[in-house]
């Protein structure tokens, strides 16, 4: 299912959960795993110094420094590397998201695995900051392949997972996400839950429509799911459709919890806009933050079917 996987890491404890999933995936699917770490922004392109992207301090970089960084990464993931056959550790100097995207394109990977952010946040602070780090945002925005975002500990999900929840919002990107979810469900042989959260609050704050309108909307959404998505499933019949009304991210989290989802697949954003312009939607961000399962963000139709 995944032949080449790129795991972009800071090699710090914040990426440990993502590392576990990335290595597990590579072992399970006998995929080629690229463990990649980008450090420092080069000064004046070819200068002998690099600016640390976290602290702003200037470091010398050269072959010795590069070898030291690579050694650090190998030490960090020593146990996992011992169990993984096809694994390459790479280090680069540059702007992290640019280098990750460049590597993904050049290596033609099927999946990028990343942690949600590069620093541990107190949960209170996440309300005010970019929930997902800038690097994560930009990679998810431009990547041609699905991006698996891991922000919570997930014990061996991809070894045994049996429930995929696909959050549907009827956009083009949502169709790409659906195709990815279907592909994974077929390959793994697990159940696919097609879920739509009907946000009926509208633009008039606090003015909720009546029950008949809600029921009508839900019925219309069900019909649309059957026409748009179920019609593409062929002989795959291990699925369930559910539509709940409410705040989308709250409902998806509730649903994923109820169904004990091992993977949540969502479109990158919730409106039909140019994928290059689309920042990760707030619904995806809120779900990524809190979901116990990994969240796959899909933005484009490449690499999904």
């Amino acid at each position: 299912m995944f032949k080449k996987i790129l795991f972009a890491t800071t090699a710090s404890p914040t990426c440990d959960n993502a590392a576990r999933v990335a290595f597990d995936l590579a072992v399970k699917y006998e995929a080629q795993l690229y463990v990649m770490h980008v450090y420092g922004i080069p000064t004046r392109g070819f200068g002998p110094f690099a600016t640390d992207v976290r602290t702003g301090e200037t470091d010398d970089y050269g072959r010795d420094y590069e070898a030291w960084v690579e050694e650090e990464i190998r030490t960090t993931y020593e146990k996992q590397l011992a169990k993984t056959k096809n694994c390459v550790v790479q280090t680069r100097v540059g702007v992290p998201h640019t280098e990750i995207l460049r590597a993904a394109r050049k290596l033609d990977v099927d999946l990028i695995v990343m942690g949600a952010h590069s620093r541990e946040e107190e949960v209170g602070a996440t309300r005010f900051r970019n929930v997902l780090g800038d690097t994560m945002q930009r990679v998810a925005q431009k990547a041609r392949c699905p991006v698996l975002i891991i922000s919570r500990p997930c014990a061996n999900c991809f070894w045994y997972f049996s429930n995929i929840v696909m959050g549907i919002d009827f956009t083009k990107a949502s169709m790409s996400a659906f195709l990815f979810a279907l592909k994974v469900a077929r390959e793994v042989g697990c159940k696919l839950y097609l879920f739509h959260a009907a946000d009926l609050s509208g633009v008039h704050v606090g003015k909720m429509p009546g029950q008949p309108t809600i029921e009508k909307e839900i019925e219309a959404a069900r019909k649309k799911i059957e026409e748009m998505y179920v019609s593409q499933m062929g002989d795959f019949d291990n699925y369930e459709i559910d539509i709940w009304e409410g705040v989308p991210y709250v409902e998806i989290l509730k649903y994923a919890r109820e169904k004990m989802a091992d993977l949540i697949v969502m479109a990158h954003h919730t409106r039909d806009i140019d994928p290059d312009e689309a920042l990760l939607g707030s619904t995806v961000e809120q779900v990524v933050l809190r979901a116990a399962a990994p969240v796959a963000s899909v933005n484009r139709p490449d690499k999904v079917a």
Partner: protein, 180 residues
């Protein structure tokens, strides 16, 4: 002096200087919170039951309340945490990005003199843990090691919304799919 509202263990609000607490609880949102002795996380949910209008303050509260209703009626307190401390943090961030000042609330576990993260605990495990109000922590230029602490006050809105936000991260499934 700012108006105060006292939060009782049974969830009832008492406002000595405001006789209309029961009739119009929303008017108390800007009041300074005082927690009585024996106030626990369960008391917080009892307050939501006593004043259902507060449930509308945060999108996660109805679901959190539903989960609370499924929990045992007593003895929900982990040995590893002495108290839950609600606090406020002011953080100055200088790099990376533009300089900014952020103010946010924090709910954390306290063991002895140390603080611990409570995210790994399900709500049901924390219900009978005492809740206290902590100090305001001022982190200077993003370095948590370089911080100052101050006495401060919390409004009822800060308290309800802050706890709802913090508890919304306690979303681990009750059982893992492993082995099924």
């Amino acid at each position: 002096m700012i108006n105060t509202v006292c939060l009782e263990p049974d969830g009832i609000l008492t406002a000595e200087d405001r006789g209309d607490a029961g009739a119009v609880p929303l008017r108390l949102l800007s009041s300074r919170v005082i927690l009585t002795r024996d106030y626990t996380l369960r008391s917080f949910f009892r307050m939501l039951e006593a004043y259902p209008v507060f449930m509308e303050l945060n999108a996660f509260l109805p679901e959190l309340h539903r989960r609370y209703r499924e929990c045992p009626a007593g003895e929900c307190s982990p040995d590893a945490i002495d108290t839950l401390e609600f606090g406020k943090t002011i953080e100055m961030i200088g790099f990376p990005g533009n300089p900014q000042l952020e103010i946010y609330s924090v709910l954390q576990g306290v063991v002895g003199e140390k603080t611990v993260e409570i995210k790994p605990y399900d709500i049901g495990l924390l219900l009978d843990t005492p809740v206290t109000l902590g100090k305001l922590r001022h982190i200077i230029f993003g370095d948590p090691a370089d911080s100052l602490e101050f006495d401060t006050v919390y409004t009822l809105f800060e308290f309800i919304d802050g706890i709802a936000w913090a508890l919304s991260f306690h979303n681990a499934p009750e059982q893992c799919g492993i082995g099924r």
